[in-house]
């Protein structure tokens, strides 16, 4: 019944239109197979294809009658100059000594990111295709069990988002190895002040004793799905990541009844409470970071798969093959986590740039969201932080297309 939940990976780069991939012009020539080795060796010395490593230097064509023809790429056509005599002199020497007749052809500019792209590319000129070697769990697909678990956590985010009548964004941070919720939060832009003592107002980060305003104004928005397409019709103006600026337009109510904080988007609040949980569970000295288990994206996937294979010594000296050995499973003393390394976050809406960057800082491993954020989304809609190479951490991003009944259950 739940198997119509679809989890779609949102890649680092906007995929190219399959049939309009960017191309580059090159000089190529038919060569005599007898000379192929010498020519290629020489070409690699005098005209390496630095930026086209995915392009094969040689193309083999089988002509009618089974005859084999070899073509080789000589060099890139320099921009605005497609004359043969613009080629470097070494190349011209090579051309004349093997009596080649160069012509211009096209090759694909970027390495293929999918099998489909690769097939299209090879219609121009053969390229090589390397499916990504690092895998944050899920990029290559989810098992039935894993997608059930993804759906379950997304469901709890959805319930949170709608629990107060007013629809807001919600965030649930999960330790996937223990299938345990680490922290969860809704947007807290407006919060009732139920705190009388003065110390509270000086510490805006301590909103724990406050409750979220319920049923603000008269706007009872509900999550209506447009039938099966997971498209939302309502504007959902109270979702902070969708309309980060909305707070300033907000009509002031009587003062001092509640606090407001324009930056307390669900993801920010969830990060804050996971940090509070960390400080509470592992009250060690802040700077003895030697115990930190700092693993960044690509390393951590190596480590976890490595750990799976590792035999781990138990107290009684027996070796047990541990499935899914992560540092914080129950039969091991829990290691203090380094920020949110290894954790996933479930968000109802694609986060804005502030929240998406906060999740980079906090080293979240995977982000799952249900609805895109065309207004301010930073994971594919307006920006695409997961593809910013300069960042020191990269998470994998997935959109969860919810089954109809999941939406209805929370719809409220």
């Amino acid at each position: 019944m739940m198997n119509n939940c679809l989890i779609v990976h949102i890649p680092d780069k906007q995929p190219h239109d399959l049939h309009h991939q960017p191309t580059e012009s090159v000089f190529a020539s038919i060569i005599d197979p007898k000379h192929a080795n010498q020519i290629v060796r020489r070409l690699n010395q005098i005209a390496p294809l630095e930026d086209l490593r995915h392009v094969k230097r040689i193309q083999k064509k089988v002509l009618e009658g089974g005859q084999i023809q070899l073509l080789v790429i000589l060099c890139l056509v320099s921009e605005g100059n497609n004359q043969f005599d613009s080629m470097p002199s070494h190349l011209q020497e090579l051309i004349s000594s093997y009596q080649l007749s160069p012509f211009i052809t096209k090759v694909c500019k970027y390495a293929a990111t999918s099998k489909e792209e690769w097939h299209e590319q090879c219609k121009f000129w053969p390229t090589s295709y390397h499916p990504r070697t690092y895998n944050i769990d899920g990029i290559t697909g989810f098992s039935e069990e894993d997608s059930q678990s993804v759906l379950k956590f997304m469901q709890s985010a959805l319930e949170l988002a709608t629990s107060d009548g007013l629809v807001v964004n919600a965030a649930v941070i999960v330790d996937p190895s223990a299938k345990q919720i680490i922290s969860s939060a809704c947007d807290q832009i407006f919060v009732w002040n139920t705190c009388n003592d003065d110390s509270c107002s000086r510490k805006p980060e301590l909103f724990c004793s406050h409750t979220i305003i319920s049923g603000k104004c008269d706007s009872h928005e509900t999550l209506h799905s447009n039938n099966s397409s997971n498209q939302l019709k309502q504007p959902y103006t109270s979702v902070s990541c969708l309309y980060p600026q909305q707070w300033a337009e907000h009509q002031s109510h009587s003062r001092s009844l509640y606090y407001f904080h324009p930056l307390r988007h669900a993801a920010m609040v969830a990060i804050e409470s996971s940090a509070a949980r960390d400080r509470c569970l592992f009250p060690g000295k802040e700077n003895s970071e030697a115990k930190y288990l700092e693993l960044d994206g690509e390393n951590s996937s190596w480590t976890s798969s490595h750990a799976k294979r590792q035999k781990i010594a138990c107290a009684n000296g027996e070796y047990v093959e541990k499935l899914n050995a992560h540092s914080h499973t129950s039969d091991q003393p829990p290691a203090r986590p380094y920020l949110c390394t290894g954790y996933d976050i479930y968000l109802v809406w694609e986060p804005c740039a502030m929240c998406a960057m906060a999740l980079v800082h906090q080293r979240i491993r995977r982000i799952f969201y249900a609805f895109p954020n065309p207004n301010a989304g930073a994971l594919g809609s307006v920006h695409r932080l997961q593809g910013e190479k300069s960042l020191n951490h990269h998470y994998a991003v997935f959109r969860v297309l919810l089954p109809e009944e999941a939406l209805h259950r929370c719809y409220i």
């Binding site: 107002s201 700077n287 970071e289 980079v360 800082h361």
Partner: protein
């Protein structure tokens, strides 16, 4: 262009905040927020202490202000108006998160020291300070306001702090692994 002495004075106060961060074994980034020629809030990086990597200097100073203003009974409209009269002086270019936050709040102007090649949100990686000028998908409410941004103010002092932090560092700090200018 000569940097006005006023700007240098405020940036110097931001550097003092960064030094406080360093003394507390935090990545040395500091800032002050100025309204009508007066410093009304300051902040420094607290990511290690809080184990919350979003507690950048800017976020700390912003929270101080929001707390104060609401304690004084300011309404949301007034708070929004106040932010539009504030300038931020920070030792390192605001990261994508902080630049985004500043644009959400509608700050008037930002002065920063060194640029932030890894995470910078005011020109280095993204340009969130120009958010108003980018075309929006026909939304009625833009996701943020643009603000004026000037970099390179006392940049060498800011860089020197990072260098000192990472090179001599402190015996307890993790071996970096963090790139220079990680924070801001």
């Amino acid at each position: 262009m000569m940097t006005s002495p006023e700007i240098l004075t405020f940036m110097d106060l931001a550097i003092q905040q960064a030094k406080l961060a360093m003394d507390a074994l935090e990545v040395p980034v500091g800032c002050v927020i100025v309204e009508d020629g007066k410093v009304i809030a300051s902040g420094r990086n607290r990511t290690t202490e809080t184990r919350n990597a979003t507690r950048h200097a800017e976020m700390e100073a912003i929270d101080v202000l929001l707390g104060q203003w609401q304690k004084n009974g300011l309404s949301m409209t007034e708070v929004s108006e106040n932010f539009s009269n504030c300038s931020l002086y920070v030792t390192c270019e605001p990261c994508i998160m902080c630049a985004s936050a500043l644009s959400i709040l509608g700050i008037k102007e930002v002065f920063y020291g060194c640029s932030n090649d890894k995470f910078g949100g005011c020109g280095s990686i993204l340009s969130l300070h120009l958010s108003n000028t980018t075309p929006l998908n026909n939304s009625e409410v833009p996701p943020g306001k643009s603000f004026k941004c000037t970099g390179g103010i006392m940049a060498s002092e800011a860089v020197l702090l990072f260098r000192t932090f990472y090179e001599q560092g402190n015996p307890n700090a993790p071996k970096p692994h963090r790139p220079l200018a990680r924070q801001a």
